[in-house]
Amino acid sequence: MVNDERKACLDNRFTSTSHRHASSRIVLFFLAVLLLLTLSMLLGPSGIGIPDMQSNAGSAIISLRVNRLLMGMMTGAALSASGVVFQALLRNPLAEPYVLGVSGGAGLGATISILAGSGLFVTLGLPVVAFISAVLTLMVVYGIASQGSSGQPSVYSLILSGVIVSSICSSVIMFLVSTASVEGMHNVIWWMLGSLQPVSSGQQLLSAALIVGGLGGIWLLSPHLNALALGREMAHYQGLRADLVLVTGLLFATLLAATAVSLSGMIGFVGLIVPHVMRAVFGPDNRKLVPLAALGGGTFLVVCDALARTILAPIEIPVGVVTALAGGPFFLIILQRRMKQAWIA
């Protein structure tokens, strides 16, 4: 009886307040997303505000801005969600596509296909080649990390070999670029700097399909990601096919990261900052975290892009520079204030 009362009392005290807090936070977050997306629609090198829709130039500007917004949403969502998954699966706050060499591998694949291919092959084949080479890279990283340990690689050896393989990939990219023709070099470097310049509609549709599929897959996996927070062994004891969840999760996360890289080049920091900020605000429950981080990552990148093309207009700064410059300090503030509650490493 006493226990029941105590339980009821505790239920009341905790669930009601924390629920109210959580839902009001989510409402605020959605409002902020809407506001920021609207604001970034108003920004551009051609001036602030809505251009004249009647003129050809005005409607072109609007469609360009809508296009970049979609590009930003897709890329940001993919990078951020893949960061969430890598961090959850490898149980490490530093895990993200770049650290694990996934982005480097995707970049290498993309570089090769940009330099070697032409026409339709480049536009449609780019995400596929990037994905394949990212998966191959991940397998190499995983294989190296597994050596010496008893079957399962430790997180530290994974990250160590990821960093090394990643730097090998960038060296190969540098080598390829330095030996490429002027036109090829221009294409690769422009792509590599990271920008949300519109790509062909074919590649955009294919990328959209891959990203939506990847996000859906990850969301389905998200309850299981929670169980993996206590480690592979514990997840196994609780009746999960832990290794299957791990491999599926890594594949989906790699698919997202590779598609983002093939779409917009090397944009760093999104997969690291956004998941951490979202976790600090909404808690580590991956069921909520995956969709919220996807939305947050997309919005973050769109805002960064709006700034990138406005601040020094008509010069456009690579958006990767803005993500790092804007995200870094913000990340440090969050780290200081909320990290203790969100991630105790």
């Binding site: 339980k7 206590l230 580590p284």
Partner: protein, 427 residues
């Protein structure tokens, strides 16, 4: 097939291990449904590997593991989780999950696609948290809890699985005494009321002896012995397996076995090379034995009746004892034996033993020792412990003191007297 179903866990000639290292070497045993079994053995003998193999985390290199009659590797993971729960040595979460979120993980295999829980699931989670006394911690971050609190949360999570057998890998060694008793009580209740089978990896042999139906003793990857506490807790076997001097005795109050380690006493006793004979009985000798052994004396004792608690203690401490049949007057054979011991001893100590007609003979021993020129130390206050007719013991004692026997009042004082005496002798 019928018999099979009564077993919760069966190992049939299982060898298992890791890539380059075989840990389990042809291990066979079985655990019946509803049993409380302790798995013991020195560090690194393969206990954790055995649990991992039982939970299908490791695939055996050869042999077969059966869980409730089925090959554990053929059971679907979700079904396996409803049969078997494992509380590991330590669980770590790198993310700030709350306690209730952690406990809900126990229901993960029965959750809906989006991680939704049925009211039944919720009840199980709540009940497990109440059981393990972690309800107040429910909104705290798991990572912020103390080791003992984390262990109770882990147990709550495993209880939420509602398994039929629970395996605990040294999980209770981190708990303070209050919560250790509590967790053991929980396990015993589950064992008795719900017939839950328990396999507890433990280093506390005495504690395990009081709660276990059976013991599994492992050493170097092999199963050394399987049986009841009395069958497995044998000083010779334990001392060999644990590679140190261990003694087993029966708690006079509860009747449970106690395993005691006294690593240092042997060496020190040998180095001092002085021997003392103790005349005791009725439990008056236990503390004397203990202190004398710690101080490094070679101790003999007797005559004692075979069921006397001093006799039990002396046997557990590996002392030389002159024994007589229970409840009979002390006979001449035993007395002869005791006299031989007195011959070899440097001093004879008489404990605060009460005297009746049955053991008055022991005073004769003291008198004989005095005649042989031994130092004799008598406990003070005999008048209160003399139940003989006509105060025979009291009179006997005063004769002894007249003949040169010394009186001791407390054990520390006795130890000083012995030391003084031995210095005096050696000089």
């Amino acid at each position: 097939m019928d018999i099979m179903e009564h077993y919760a866990l069966v190992f049939r000639d299982v060898s298992a291990g890791y890539k380059h290292r075989k840990v389990l070497d042809h291990v066979s045993f079985n655990i019946r449904e509803g049993e409380f079994v302790s798995l013991i053995g020195p560090n690194g003998c393969g206990k954790s590997t055995l649990l991992k193999t039982a939970a299908a985390l490791l695939t055996p290199l050869s042999g077969k593991v059966e869980l409730f009659g089925q090959d554990v590797h053929r059971i679907k993971p979700a079904v396996r989780a409803s049969l078997l729960g494992v509380v590991p040595q330590k669980i770590e979460s790198s993310m700030a999950f709350t306690v209730s979120q952690i406990v809900m993980n126990g229901r993960i295999s029965s959750m809906g696609r989006w991680g939704t829980m049925s009211p039944g699931d919720h009840d199980l989670v709540e009940r497990s948290m109440i059981y393990t006394d972690v309800l107040e911690l429910r909104d705290r971050y798991f990572t912020e809890l103390s080791g003992g609190e984390q262990q109770r949360v882990a147990l709550a999570m495993v209880l939420a699985q509602d398994p039929k057998i629970i395996m605990l890998d040294e999980s209770i060694s981190h708990l303070d005494i209050n919560h250790r008793q509590e967790v053991l009580q929980i396990l015993m209740n589950l064992n008795r009321e719900k017939r839950m089978t328990i396999l507890l990896v433990s280093h506390d042999l005495t504690l395990s002896a009081s709660i276990s139906d059976r013991f599994l003793l492992m050493d170097a990857g092999s199963m050394i012995k399987v049986g009841t506490p009395t069958e497995v807790l044998e000083p010779e076997v334990l001392s060999r397996v644990y590679n140190c001097d261990l003694r087993v005795q029966q708690d006079p109050y509860t009747g449970y076995l106690q395993v005691l380690g006294s690593i240092d006493s042997l060496n020190r006793r040998k180095s001092l090379n002085r021997s003392v004979h103790v005349i005791a009985g009725g439990g008056s000798g236990i503390e004397l034995y203990r202190r004398l052994i710690i101080e490094g004396y070679e101790v003999t004792t007797g005559v004692l009746n075979r069921l006397d608690s001093d006799a039990e203690a002396a046997r557990a401490l590996n002392l030389q004892v002159a024994l007589e049949q229970p409840f009979s007057p002390l006979g001449s054979d035993a007395i002869q034996e005791a006299l031989k011991m007195i011959d070899a001893a440097d001093a004879v100590i008489l404990s605060q033993v009460p005297f009746g007609s049955g053991n008055l003979v022991n005073l004769e021993l003291a008198a004989a020792a005095l005649k042989k020129g031994k130092t004799v130390l008598l406990a003070a206050g005999i008048a209160d412990r003399d139940y003989t007719q006509g105060k025979a013991a009291l009179q006997f004692m005063s004769r002894l003191t007249n003949d040169g026997a010394l009186i001791w009042h407390s054990i520390p004082e006795l130890m000083l007297q012995l030391q003084k005496h031995s210095r005096h002798r050696s000089s």
